[in-house]
Structures are given as structure tokens and as C-alpha cells.
């Protein structure tokens, strides 16, 4: 019983890709994900790179910024889902107004984290999204 209780708070090992044009944001998210059991498979600095790298890296989870050069995050979610309809993408943005959140979820993103992201929020969202399938 005690083990079952403990397991509820552990995120099973998962692979992830971080998509953000900010070096700080990439490293910060990497630290948070590794701390909850994630393994980094790669970074992308904009949406276009994310769409190109996704099929090669095939992560369990993509953490995607919205405002980026070349291709923004919402278009990139659509590009990734066009390749793999089961892809799990969580948006991570400081632009957390209702219209933006609705647009992101309508594009196929599974969840939305508002920056600055707190580690406990990130853990809770990752657990929810990975258990959803």
C-alpha cells in the first residue's frame, strides 16, 4: 500500500524535447524534466526545427514555446501532429491569456504551462499528459 502511494508521485521514465528560442528557458525546462524522471533527447530553437527533428527524436513529450522566430509554436504543433497524431505536446509560454490557451489546445496541444513554470506544476502536468493515453 505504501509503495502504491509513493508511486503516485513518481513520473515514470520518459523522453522529452524542449522547443524554445531562449537558452535559459531550454536549460531551465531540461533541469525540471530531468528532476522528475525525464531524459532529454534534444532541443529545437524554433518551430521549424521542432517539426524537422520530431520524427528523428520521437520523444514521449514535447515542451513547446509559442513566440519563436521562423515558425511559432502553434504552427509547429500542427506540423508535428500531421506526422504523428499521437504526439504529446505541452505548450510553455508567458502569453497565457484565454484566447491563446484556447488556440493552443485547438491546435492539438495537450496542456498549457505559463512561464515562469513552477517545478510542481510541471510535474503535475507531465504526469497527467503521459497517463492520458
Amino acid at each position: 500500500m505504501k509503495n502504491k502511494e509513493r508511486d503516485k508521485n513518481v513520473v515514470s521514465n520518459f523522453s522529452f524535447m524542449v522547443v524554445d528560442d531562449s537558452q535559459f528557458a531550454c536549460r531551465n525546462m531540461e533541469k525540471m524534466m530531468v528532476a522528475i524522471g525525464g531524459t532529454l533527447v534534444g532541443f529545437a530553437n524554433n518551430g521549424r526545427e521542432a517539426v524537422e527533428r520530431y520524427p528523428k527524436l520521437h520523444p514521449d513529450l514535447v515542451l513547446m514555446d509559442i513566440t519563436m522566430p521562423e515558425m511559432e509554436g502553434i504552427e509547429a504543433v500542427e506540423g508535428i501532429l500531421a506526422q504523428d497524431s499521437s504526439a504529446k505536446v505541452v505548450m510553455v509560454s508567458s502569453m497565457g491569456y484565454q484566447g491563446m490557451i484556447k488556440k493552443a489546445l485547438a491546435s492539438g496541444a495537450k496542456h498549457f504551462l505559463i512561464k515562469p513554470v513552477k517545478p510542481e506544476q510541471a510535474a503535475s502536468v507531465v504526469k497527467f499528459v503521459l497517463k492520458e493515453s
Binding site: S94, M95, Y97, G99, M100, P116
Partner: protein, 153 residues
């Protein structure tokens, strides 16, 4: 100057700083100014467009900037190199993103430009002659001075 637009930026600056530094950042005495601004060493600037025009300028000493960047990264940023500058840019984006979100949720339509970072001693910043609310926030790394000016179109 429209306080409806200004207040969310001040609130966002305080909330985001408190979140990333995990400390209280008390607000100092606010002032109104429309003079050329003397940079304290490091400044980040963001333009505001849409329903209103304006700018947010976050002004701090180099020591404060280094301390904040190091606290956010958990590693040395004393040179204020690429990582340090990127951290300050991201901090500013988090402030503007939060403020714009509050305003857009209230039915306003505003956009912001990506942040620009200025670094240098004896820096004067001109061309900003708008009535500006200047509010210092106290952190354990030193003072962070938030300058916000917004005029409706």
C-alpha cells in the same frame, strides 16, 4: 498615461521577480518622470503596440543583473555573456507576457516586441520622452527599477 494599462505591468514585474527569485520584492516609492533616463548599468526594453503605445524598461545595476541571472540559473553569470543576457531577456518576456495576458483577458488588444538589452556604464537612454511611472522593486540582489509608459492611441 493610462493606469489601466500600467498597473498590470507593475504587478507582473513584482510577481515574476518574486516567483523566479523565491523572495519578496517590496515596492519602493513610485515617481513620475519624462526625462532622459540614466541607465544604471543594464537595461531591458520592450515596446508596446496595439490599442495603446508605450514601453517597459527594466533598469538595474550590473551587480543586480548578475545576481538575478545567477539566481535564476544556479550558476555563474558574472560575465553577463550569452546565457546571462538571454536570462534577462526571458525574465522581461515573462513580465510582459503576464501583463499582456491580464490585459487581453480583460478585453484589450496589445502586443509587445521582443526585449532589447542594453549594457554599459554611464548609459543615457533618450527618445523616451513619455510620461513614465518609475517604480523600484527591492531584491536581495539590489534594486530593480521598472519604468512603464503607456499612452492610448
Amino acid at each position: 498615461m493610462r493606469y489601466t494599462f500600467i498597473r498590470p505591468f507593475l504587478d507582473a514585474a513584482q510577481t515574476v521577480l518574486e516567483d523566479v527569485l523565491s523572495e519578496q520584492t517590496p515596492v519602493g516609492e513610485p515617481q513620475l518622470s519624462s526625462k532622459t533616463l540614466a541607465g544604471l548599468g543594464v537595461a531591458t526594453i520592450v515596446g508596446i503596440t496595439g490599442e495603446a503605445d508605450g514601453r517597459l524598461l527594466i533598469n538595474m545595476t550590473r551587480e543586480s543583473a548578475v545576481g538575478i541571472a545567477q539566481a535564476m540559473n544556479g550558476e555563474d553569470c558574472s560575465e553577463l555573456g550569452a546565457l546571462g543576457q538571454d536570462t534577462l531577456a526571458e525574465l522581461t518576456s515573462m513580465v510582459t507576457g503576464r501583463a499582456i495576458s491580464t490585459l487581453n483577458d480583460a478585453g484589450h488588444r496589445l502586443r509587445v516586441s521582443p526585449p532589447t538589452i542594453l549594457i554599459g556604464e554611464n548609459l543615457t537612454i533618450s527618445g523616451l520622452e513619455m510620461e513614465t511611472l518609475v517604480v523600484p522593486l527591492e531584491t536581495t540582489h539590489g534594486k530593480v527599477v521598472v519604468n512603464i509608459a503607456v499612452t492610448t492611441n
